[in-house]
Amino acid sequence: MGPETKNGTAVITNIQGFSLHDGPGIRTVVFFKGCPLFCHWCANPECRSGKPQMGFIRTLCTGCGKCLEVCPEQAIRGEGEHRIDRSRCTACGLCSEQCHYGALVRYGEAMTVDDVMDAVRRDRMFYADSGGGVTVSGGEPLLSAQFVRELFERIRNEQINTCVETCGMGSPEVLLQLIPVTDHFLFDLKLMDDDAHSRYTGCSNRQILHNAALVAGRGADVLFRQPLVPGVNDSSGNIEATARFLRSLGGNAARLQIMPFHGMGVSKYRALDLPYTMEGVASADDKHVEAVRQAYLSCGIDCTVSR
């Protein structure tokens, strides 16, 4: 489950500039590969595994056969429609280098802190004017805490703002290490009922709730967020329980940002040959989102919606 880090590298799937919804201002988001949870609604399935993976986008494939020629593992089957034999593929990426049509994508690249610094430093001028900075996300950045800490120390030395976007699953020690170098936390609270949490994410929420209290208790700037998944966590029971928990944290923690579920991740599941259990589940519509927001407001939670 853990990400493959060696020699001070982390596996990064993407570094995305001009992100407007991941903390204050204009930010660059660094997506780490590897996550301890396994949420059904996950929109970034390529960030679950900690190892590089190949994605195959069928609609872009012209069947030219170049990839078959270069694959050292004979992992691509080419009679008729191409497909990747996942048992053989080592995600070496040779095929994607040869694919002119962008049908083969390598998710995950081992990067050093220097590499990431070079990428995030480029957008400095946009951070300064907008109050933005760098957000680490994923996947779960806490799995690469050592790397993140080193990265953040250097980023802060350059007077750039830092933010951690986390599912909250990790050891408290790791979290405590990051608090001094982190300006903002975006902390997910998916479900309050432990059984339901285990069912939908593959993991108990006890550690997560403990960590939430820990971060809030240390006075860190934290914004709790909740993916709003229809039929999963939009019951009045979960809303009330979440609100109760947030209020119990005191301070400025009684805030929640809702992130409405959408099915846009499905194409990535297909590209990775992964089953998608949310097939056919409609995106949360505006009316429903607003109703949930109102419910939170009436529970005394300062609730906003991320678009």
Partner: protein, 810 residues
């Protein structure tokens, strides 16, 4: 400057489109296009009467004949009168200026194609008028006579160069000096046309003996009196209508119209209403003098009209609602005036309406920012109107207040794109000042129709002079074919067989030699044009109300004036060429993956066959501008500098040197027709990159900030304007938080030296659907270069172009 009245801004935010404006919009949409031949009838009548007169007087009398006789009408929703055609929208022709320029009139036709997609109904009587006019003027107009001169000098070269899209069509676009520039609005509103007449009389009374000067001042008096009479005709018509009007409210309005038209433009405007009425009459007279490509321009309307607006609001002469309604009325009218364009103008511009520009905000000569409440109202009103024209530009500078920037981004969201665009005030002013223009003049710059910065105080000799772009992509095509153009003609210099080039530098030098040959020859022919065309046409009204120096010198603006004339040119396709040269450098010279011969064969076959497609993919995979890759970004910067050097090396003495301004328009579509397949991977005849520094379509893979970093690194400091279009999805820009982020984004780019940026906020799915179901998306506006247009009115390949442009995920 006083503190802005924030309470007034809040009230402006709440304004809706006025009921009168809505009635107009409805009538306009229902009306369709109608050809208006009446103007042409009076040109012929006048020309017959004035045979033998001096050209200056003759054109003044022609103007007088038109404005004193042409059919006028007041519509029920009008509070401001004066439109170019009696119908709500209509098109006029410029046969007296351009000659026999509408081939369709010689066919047995009931329709004229006036723009890319619009036809106009034509009755037999109107057709006969147009034919008579073409017979009267055809063959003896400025463009036609100039082409003859050119032919004597270089044979068919100019026509061949235009056919190969090496440069834009020139003469038959009918653009003369100053036609899309800004009039002396402050003087017109503040002193009235009466003062212009007095000034001319003063010159005459001083005993001038130069007959040309005398004739100019006489012509100035004729046209000013005629324009006043035009207003008086409206005044009389309004009084007559008021007498027969049963509704007391409308009767009152008609009397108000009458009293305004009896007073302005002859006298100084007393109110905001009169100021707009004065502008409307002057604007329509400008069009009557020469309808094609001569639309009235707002310029810095937020400055000229500000004292009238604030005084009337403060003393209660007008309500804010009424002021907004009046402003919307004239913005709407000027934004929807059209004309029968020449064939080449249709192809190169792809717009249905006369170019129309509003500038808001910006510095004054003392370095203070002049953004005001009226700037804010202008933005709000264009947001309410939802029209593709006018173009609105915000003169961004470090002192531009946050409240105006926020309103500007909000207006972009409301209009779904590009309104307003942002131009860097500091960059433009410093470019002018570096070129020896006094600060007082430089600070008053305006977009010339679109983004091309010009000075309202000076005649801009473009068109025949070659603002019309020179096409670096077509020049590269010449280099790759040893001087032979896309049509197989040897229009270029023989720079050698590229297969024999031993280094990248040799190739690069050949391109610059080719550039110099084409561009300098165009400049030489432009000089011929400007010495020739004023023999056949003058624009006394435009000269008198447009440029003080014309009045002072006693000289029409079409006569070149070494002291003040400006010359601009737009060297285009720099990014296409940078990406292409980069690919050749890598594949042929550095990495030797391809022989030049093989590459050229692939280009000539338009990447045909399996190998051709492979080569195309290799080309596409080379470093592309817009991804913050040093090597190619710096190459783009070098081409920009060297192209500027080529242009500036032309000795235009005794005139000012050519200035460079890289505008946008829909030129990339037109320019693409001049180049076969290019080594950047673009296929033959496909559109080039849009704007002038936008990355290749789909090639900017590192997000919008990487595009800006590439642009800043390349610099483009030589140019007064460099058009960068960025397309964002509108869906994400809902919250006020996003507004502030986009404000910061714009500020960051501009304060680091960016010269222009324009946002296209359109949802891709909506565009795709609009292509299939145009009838459901008639309101959809997209921006192309410095212009906006209705999406459904673009030709299909341009639609695809808009759809394909990489949509930056926010």
């Amino acid at each position: 400057m006083a503190e802005v009245d924030t309470e007034l801004l809040n009230r402006i935010d709440k304004l809706q489109l006025g009921e009168r404006n809505q009635r107009w919009k409805k009538a306009m949409k229902a009306s369709g296009w109608k050809l208006f031949a009446d103007r042409e009838k009076w040109t012929v009548a006048s020309w017959r009467e004035t045979e033998g007169e001096d050209i200056q007087i003759r054109r003044a009398l022609l103007f007088k004949k038109i404005v004193e006789n042409v059919e006028i009408r007041i519509h029920d929703y009008d509070l401001i009168v004066g439109r170019a055609t009696p119908g709500v929208i209509g098109c006029a022709t410029s046969i007296d200026v351009c000659g026999d320029y509408i081939p369709d009139i010689w066919k047995d036709t009931a329709e004229l194609r006036i723009t890319m997609d619009a036809n106009v109904g034509l009755d037999p009587e109107s057709l006969e008028i147009l034919r008579t006019s073409a017979k009267t003027f055809g063959g003896r107009t400025a463009p036609e006579m100039t082409y003859r001169k050119w032919e004597a000098l270089v044979g068919s070269w100019m026509k061949d160069a235009e056919a190969a899209k090496l440069k834009d069509p020139t003469l038959d676009t009918a653009i003369f000096g100053q036609t899309t520039s800004v009039l002396m609005w402050q003087k017109i509103l503040g002193k009235g046309l009466g003062s212009f007449i007095e000034e001319a009389r003063g010159h005459l009374a001083a005993g001038e003996t130069d007959v040309d000067k005398v004739n100019f001042w006489k012509s100035a008096i004729i046209v000013c009196e005629a324009a006043m009479n035009h207003a008086h005709r409206y005044g009389a018509l309004a009084r007559e209508m008021a007498e027969n009007e049963a509704r007391p409210e409308r009767k009152k309005e008609l009397l108000q119209i009458a009293s305004a038209c009896e007073h302005v433009p002859e006298h100084p405007a007393r109110t905001f209403h009169e100021a707009l009425q004065s502008m409307a009459i002057i604007g329509v007279c400008k069009l009557y003098e020469h309808p094609m490509h001569n639309n009235p321009q707002w310029g810095r309307g937020d400055q000229y009209l500000y004292p009238y607006f604030m005084r009337d609001i403060a003393n209660g002469t007008i309500t804010l609602e009424k002021a907004a309604e009046l402003l919307a009325e004239l913005i709407g009218r000027w934004g929807t005036q059209t004309f029968v364009a020449s064939e080449s103008l249709k192809e190169s511009h792809q717009i249905n309406f006369g170019i129309n520009n509003i500038m808001v905000g910006g510095l004054d000569a003392s370095g203070a920012d002049r953004s005001n409440e009226l700037s804010y109202l202008f933005l709000h009103v264009v947001g309410l109107l939802q029209l593709s024209s006018p173009t609105v530009g915000l003169r961004w500078n470090r002192k531009t207040p946050l409240w105006l920037m926020r309103k500007a981004i909000q207006t972009n969201m409301v209009t779904k794109g590009g309104i307003p665009l942002f131009e860097n005030d500091e960059v433009v002013i410093s470019r002018f000042v570096e070129d020896g223009i006094p600060m007082e003049e430089a600070a008053e710059w305006c977009g010339l129709g679109c983004v091309y910065p010009c000075l309202p105080t000076r005649a801009e000799h473009y068109g025949a002079e070659g603002i019309a772009a020179c096409n670096l992509a077509a020049m590269l095509h010449l280099v790759l074919h040893n001087g032979v153009d896309i049509n197989g003609k040897r229009t270029g210099l023989e720079t050698g067989d590229p297969r024999n080039f031993s280094s990248f530098d040799e190739l690069y030098d050949a391109l610059m030699k080719q550039h110099q040959f084409i561009t300098h020859r165009s400049f030489r022919l432009a000089a011929v044009a400007r010495e020739e065309q004023h023999k056949y046409v003058r624009l006394p009204f435009l000269s008198t109300v447009g440029i003080q120096r014309c009045m002072d010198l006693g000289q029409d603006l079409l006569i070149p004036d070494p002291e003040s004339s400006m010359f601009g040119i737009s060297d285009r396709a720099i990014i296409d060429v940078a990406d292409s040269l980069m690919a050749i450098k890598k594949l042929v010279f550095d990495e030797k993956k391809l022989m030049m011969d093989e590459l050229l064969a692939a280009l000539d076959s338009d990447f045909a066959g399996k190998r051709g497609e492979e080569i195309r993919q290799m080309c596409l995979a080379q470093p592309k501008f817009g991804n913050d890759i040093d090597e190619v970004d710096r190459l783009a910067g070098k081409i920009s500098e060297d192209s500027y050097a080529v242009i500036r090396s032309y000795d235009n003495s005794p005139f000012r040197n050519y200035m460079v301004a890289r505008e946008g328009l829909a030129w990339h579509y037109f320019g693409g027709l001049g180049a076969g397949a290019l080594p950047n991977g673009r296929k033959a005849l496909e559109p080039l990159n849009d704007g002038s520094v936008s990355p290749m379509r789909g090639a900017d893979r590192n997000g919008p900030t990487a595009v800006l970093r590439s642009a800043l690194k390349a610099g483009f400091k030589e140019s007064h304007a460099s058009v960068l279009n960025q397309k964002f999805s509108s869906a994400i820009l809902r919250s006020s938080e996003s507004i502030d982020k986009l404000v910061a984004y714009t500020n960051a780019f501009m304060s680091n030296g960016g010269s222009h940026i324009q946002y296209n906020m359109v949802d891709t799915n909506e565009l795709k659907d609009a292509k299939i179901h145009p009838e459901e998306h008639r309101d959809l506006i997209v921006r192309i270069g410095g212009f906006s247009a209705y999406f459904t009115q673009l030709s299909p390949d341009i639609q695809d172009d808009v759809i394909n442009r990489n949509e930056h995920a926010l």
